[in-house]
């Protein structure tokens, strides 16, 4: 199976949704293809990030700010219908912006704490988020069942041991031709 087909399978495979056939195809491919092994690791890291989005992770005070916006926009019975619908739309807009802000904040700072000096230093160091050490050839069975602390700050120059692979090039195409070139 070529790299393009494997990449299509990887999203499901990394999330544990692959069939046995797909999983075997992915495993055998990433054992010899560093590019796809890297893609697999990225997808796993992304799934780990998404799994961290859970109730209680929103920044402190965000709920109060959302409700303040909603209260301010709630129409009184004396106001006209047009005004009432306008205010409802405004409330929805405020709610949407607030949820969007909170989601972005969580993705950037999963611990949902305020930006600290340490965070700034990390940014200055141009450190990067990566998934936990890869287990590309250990198979999908070894992928963590619960995401856990999938993110960690890695200083530059880090080297990850990504397991082993057994090498045998895979033929993409057999040419049925008796033509030779020289």
């Amino acid at each position: 199976m070529n790299c393009e087909a494997i990449r299509d399978l990887i999203a499901g495979g990394a999330g544990g949704e692959a069939t046995d056939h797909e999983r075997i195809a992915i495993e055998s491919h990433v054992a010899v293809c560093v590019e796809c092994a890297r893609d697999l690791a990225e997808v796993r890291g992304l799934l780990g990030n998404l799994a961290l989005l859970r109730e209680g992770d929103a920044p402190a005070g965000i709920a109060e700010r959302i409700w303040q916006g909603v209260h301010a926009a709630v129409p009184t019975p004396r106001r006209s219908t047009i005004l009432a619908w306008t205010l409802r739309a405004a409330a929805l807009l405020v709610l949407g912006v607030s949820v969007g802000y909170s989601t972005t904040s969580i993705l950037r700072h999963p611990t949902s704490r305020p930006m600290t000096t340490e965070d700034s230093m990390v940014d200055e160091m141009k450190a990067t988020y990566v998934p936990r050490p890869l287990e590309v050839t250990a198979g999908m069975e070894s992928a963590p069942k619960s995401p856990g602390p999938m993110l960690e700050v890695v200083p530059e120059g880090s080297v990850f041991q990504a397991g082993t692979g057994y090498y045998l090039p895979k033929v993409d195409q057999v040419l049925d031709s008796d033509e030779i070139r020289f």
Binding site: A41, G165, P169, S177, E179
Partner: protein, 355 residues
């Protein structure tokens, strides 16, 4: 008297005569035992940049052949070319640091050096002795299992395959089972000589043919998944090519080849009769590189090369070998059949550029 003989045979039965299959088993076992000493495991630590300044390091395991007693190893180039660190595990248990000493992309053959003495170099089979249907014994390290063997046949010759955009010609096709970890391993004949070095495999696993081939029909039951990792077709670099490449890599660390810029194919019966040539003779030019040596010499599409450097063209593989193994630059005389007449041309063989 007869009763006494029968009684003796009952208590002291003689050895049953050895069957043909037992003899074959013994021969195969002997070949595997003998050649195992010349098959090594190559370990290549490869580093790739995952994100800026963050490196993924992994180890690839493949196989290799001892070609000189003082530490010359042949293996697959793709597995070791980008390696940061190379090690060779010898059959006697030693694990030695290896040095990359050269490679040839046209055949994907690499040459490594280790500091060791008294190794048992493998013997190359005569290329002319390799024929379809002969026994092929693979000795390599599938899944890291050192010194494993698999027995099959040479199921085809002169095969052409594409691997990651590169075309590889003149390969041996085998039914011996080849698995990941076998690249660079041995394909031997029944004398334990190198017929070829394990190159690649084509896997027909049902995933390659599109969604329609994902299932199979089970009579009375409906559809079922095709089994993953089905039958595969193995390929090996033939000993003739391997020997040529090995000699040059050992001498200079690189392979230089002659090149004239033509594509040729065998003649069909109609053309052969018209040109009054025997079966196998002549090479029909099907394509020419623009401004390549053959085009500059005046050869044209549709010409039939009947003589090359004073010798008749008897088969295409031999013709190619004569061009490829020519020390370029070199000018040779070529005789071609064109529209009922022969033309003699001077062809300047050039050095081929590495792909």
């Amino acid at each position: 008297m007869n009763s006494a003989i029968i009684l003796l045979l009952f208590f002291f039965p003689g050895q049953a005569p050895e069957t043909t299959l037992e003899k074959i088993e013994k021969e195969v076992s002997a070949v595997v035992e003998r050649t195992k000493a010349s098959v090594v495991q190559v370990q290549a630590r490869v580093e790739t940049e995952y994100q800026p300044r963050v490196i993924i390091s992994r180890v690839l395991y493949l196989s290799g052949l001892v070609v000189s007693a003082d530490g010359g190893i042949l293996t697959d180039l793709g597995g070791v070319e980008q390696a940061r660190e190379l090690r060779v595990a010898l059959p006697d248990g030693r694990l030695l640091v290896a040095e990359f000493a050269g490679g040839d992309r046209r055949t994907a053959v690499a040459y490594l050096r280790i500091k060791a003495e008294g190794l048992q170099p493998i013997e190359f089979a005569d290329g002319a002795s390799i024929r379809q249907g002969m026994l092929a014994i693979a000795v390599a390290n599938p899944a890291g299992l050192k010194g494993s063997c698999s027995v099959g046949f040479v199921s085809g010759l002169n095969r052409t395959v594409m691997v990651q955009g590169m075309q590889f010609d003149d390969l041996i096709q085998t039914t011996a089972l080849l698995q990941p970890g076998d690249a660079g391993g041995l394909l031997a004949n029944s004398r334990g000589q190198v017929v070829g070095m394990v190159h690649s495999r084509y896997v027909t696993d049902g995933f390659d043919s599109g969604p329609g081939q994902f299932f199979r029909v089970v009579p009375g039951e409906g559809l079922d998944f095709l089994p993953a990792g089905g039958q595969s077709v193995g390929f090996a670099t033939p000993s003739t090519t391997l020997k040529f490449v090995a000699e040059r890599l050992m001498k200079s660390g690189k392979v230089t080849r002659g090149w004239v810029g033509v594509s040729v194919r065998p003649l069909d019966a109609v053309v052969r009769t018209r040109a009054k040539l025997a079966e196998g003779q002549g090479a029909l030019i099907t394509n020419l590189e623009d401004r390549g040596p053959a085009a500059r010499a005046g050869l044209r599409k549709g010409d039939i090369i009947v003589e090359f450097d004073g010798l008749p063209v008897s088969d295409l593989s031999t013709l190619r070998r004569r061009v490829v193994e020519s020390p370029a630059p070199k000018v040779v005389r070529v005789r071609a059949w064109r529209a009922g007449a022969t033309v003699d041309l001077d062809l300047a063989i050039e050095e081929e550029r590495q792909p």
